[in-house]
């Protein structure tokens, strides 16, 4: 009940983040139901159905990542010393986060079910009745238990992940302790060598696998009939490598930014980037990996008769949207964490424009480093497949 009351009183921007999460959950729920519809409509193509289900794991993972980011930035689960004194410690806050995540994602799942039934033609009275009846396997009964299990997947995983993420977050019992914790810097990220090695290994595996003819099909539903499993494994390795290298690269960007006799703006921008590297770097690496995947895929599939189906498009939009939203939400979290320092600087008479310039400078440096990197990885990934 407390979670619902807090939701009712929250800021429109916070509600918008939750609505975005609900939309993502609806998208994933819809994809899962479509898989179920396909499976019940085509009992003979069991392996194809399993493959479709497995592909749903990618948008599911992106949604869960976004749910965790939303839970971490939610003001209603922010540790407050006053509430800590009255017993709202880390365990209760984690529970609160899990409940509010479950509420938004369940809302999304419900919407997904309604849209699915509507497009199948099971619910009537609105435009586009049964607009995709055949495509979604209308005519065959939908197993209720299976549908509910699939719909519960997103709420359960997302709220569990959100709760666990908040459970492991340190909660300061007093204001003095909070100020003390704010002073302690985040440890410098160490994953850069591993990340670079994994990325290189992934690209190598991919190049090696695509040397021969396209065997061992692992098709994306709709299109991509001949992507070998090893190529996908290579891409996965590259993506993990980029996610691991992200924090290290961000830290390096910050270090370069504050080097050689910096003024106030460059000093603040660089040091903050160094300190926030472990927070912002990972989602940035993931966005980078997803974007490079999209670029490589678009290079591969341009000119084909039918590049991809509507469900693949929905999945791609979900993955892109969720990872980007996660990055933006994490940036917001970093900003919330630095509110105290920003207040100090403004009290000293730092112009608000200086703080803005520092933020813009940080974003620019990250763009300058990560955009060419994304492009290069995408080109390298597509090179062996097109050649």
């Amino acid at each position: 009940m407390l979670a619902l009351r807090l939701t009712r009183g929250s800021h429109p921007l916070v509600l918008m983040r939750r609505l975005l999460l609900a939309a993502a959950s609806a998208g994933v729920g819809f994809l899962l139901l479509c898989t179920l519809g396909y499976a019940s409509g085509h009992p003979a193509h069991a392996s194809s159905s399993v493959l479709r289900l497995l592909w749903c794991a990618v948008p599911l993972a992106a949604t869960v990542q976004f749910a965790v980011a939303v839970a971490r930035t939610d003001p209603s689960t922010r540790p407050r010393p006053g509430l800590f004194a009255s017993g709202l410690g880390p365990a209760r806050l984690a529970l609160l986060a899990a409940i509010s995540t479950a509420v938004s994602t369940t809302l999304g799942s419900m919407v997904a079910l309604l849209v699915f039934l509507h497009l199948r033609g099971d619910l009537t009275g609105l435009p586009f009745d049964g607009g995709a009846a055949e495509f979604l396997g209308a005519g065959t009964p939908l197993p209720l238990a299976a549908a509910l299990t699939l719909l519960a997947l997103v709420p359960l995983t997302a709220s569990a992940a959100g709760g666990l993420a908040l459970r492991s977050r340190p909660v300061a019992p007093t204001d003095a302790q909070e100020a003390e914790d704010d002073l302690a810097p985040a440890p410098a990220p160490t994953g850069l060598p591993w990340g670079v090695a994994l990325t290189a290994a992934g690209l190598a595996v991919e190049a090696y696998a695509s040397r021969g003819s396209a065997g061992n099909p692992f098709p994306l539903p709709g299109r991509l009939d001949s992507t070998p499993a090893a190529v996908l494994a290579g891409w996965t390795l590259t993506a993990i490598g980029l996610a691991m290298a992200g924090p290290g690269l961000t830290h390096l960007c910050g270090r370069l930014l504050q080097a050689v006799r910096p003024g106030a703006v460059r000093l603040l921008a660089g040091r903050v980037l160094m300190d926030e590297a472990s927070r912002i770097g990972r989602p940035l690496g993931i966005v980078c990996a997803v974007l490079s995947g999209v670029i490589a895929a678009s290079v591969l599939w341009t000119g084909g008769p039918r590049p991809f189906g509507p469900l693949t498009a929905l999945g791609a939009v979900l993955v892109l949207g969720c990872t980007t939203a996660t990055l933006l939400t994490t940036a917001l979290e970093a900003r919330q964490a630095r509110a105290r320092t920003a207040g100090t600087l403004l009290r000293l008479g730092a112009p608000a424009s200086a703080l803005r310039t520092a933020a813009i400078l940080r974003a620019l440096v990250l763009l300058v480093v990560f955009v060419p990197l994304t492009w290069a990885i995408a080109e390298l990934a597509a090179l062996p497949l097109t050649g």
């Binding site: 003095a176 100020a179 003390e180 704010d182 002073l183 302690a184 810097p185 006799r261 910096p262 003024g263 106030a264 000093l267 603040l268 040091r271 903050v272 160094m274 300190d275 320092t341 100090t344 600087l345 403004l346 009290r347 000293l348 008479g349 730092a350 112009p351 608000a352 200086a354």
Partner: protein, 245 residues
């Protein structure tokens, strides 16, 4: 509008300020002379911090005037007040309020860096002040490795490095123990007197106020000459307890 007296560096007239209806200041007038150490004393919640915020241009009083060197502060826009704080004022709070990402000397040099002074000059000035405050060897350390008393000295060094006209110190010793308290205050007042810097010091501690040139008492948002309240009778507490609540 009456022009303020010439020998006052800061002059405030009948300041009124309330926070969303809750009273903060109700009619405080004050003159701060050039180069003096003025203590504003009173209990917690009597409006000392609000007064300092109004005088230093962080807060615009709802009624009343604040003048700095015969320039009206209460009519300035946010940008001008920001510049005034940056160029002419220093601020020391109860908490050290350091920037965690910066090292000791960078924290101390921050006011100069924000004014656009060159890196080298800012470092030189900051290091000099850190050495005068006996924290020179800590110049390269980050705040999280230091003791609270050392952090508060950095905060004092930061206020002094900008060579301001006025330093506002709001309970600067609230989080310190007794010995560190006197030492910090002596350092601050000595440095301010030798450099002709005016200090406005808010404190609830009579011992701290004794280091000032002049003391202004406050009670419930008003300026008073005698801060002591009439003594409560012995039985009041007991009779209050017998009330059914």
């Amino acid at each position: 509008m009456v022009a303020p007296p010439d020998n006052d560096v800061i002059w405030a007239r009948s300041l009124h300020h309330s926070y969303n209806g809750s009273p903060g200041l109700s009619g405080v007038s004050l003159g701060v002379r050039d180069g003096e150490v003025l203590a504003v004393t009173g209990r917690r919640g009597c409006g000392k911090t609000t007064l300092l915020n109004c005088l230093s241009g962080q807060l615009v009083p709802q009624q009343g005037e604040v003048w700095f060197n015969s320039v009206p502060v209460h009519t300035m826009g946010p940008r001008l007040r920001e510049q005034l704080r940056r160029d002419r004022f220093g601020w020391i709070a109860a908490e050290p309020q350091l920037v965690p990402e910066l090292s000791t000397w960078e924290n101390a040099a921050l006011p100069l860096l924000l004014r656009g002074v060159s890196h080298r000059a800012a470092k030189k000035a900051a290091t000099e002040w850190l050495e005068r405050l006996d924290i020179g060897p800590l110049a390269r350390k980050r705040p999280h490795t230091l003791l609270q008393s050392q952090r508060q000295r950095i905060s004092v060094a930061r206020a002094l490095t900008g060579s301001p006209s006025v330093i506002f110190a709001d309970e600067p010793t609230a989080t310190l123990h007794h010995t560190e308290r006197t030492q910090l205050l002596r350092t601050l007042t000595t440095a301010a007197r030798s450099h002709g810097i005016t200090v406005v010091l808010a404190t609830h501690d009579a011992e701290v106020a004794a280091l000032a040139d002049r003391v202004v008492g406050m009670l419930d948002g008003r300026r008073v000459t005698n801060v002591s309240l009439p003594a409560a009778s012995d039985t009041e507490g007991r009779s209050a307890c017998s009330l059914s609540v």
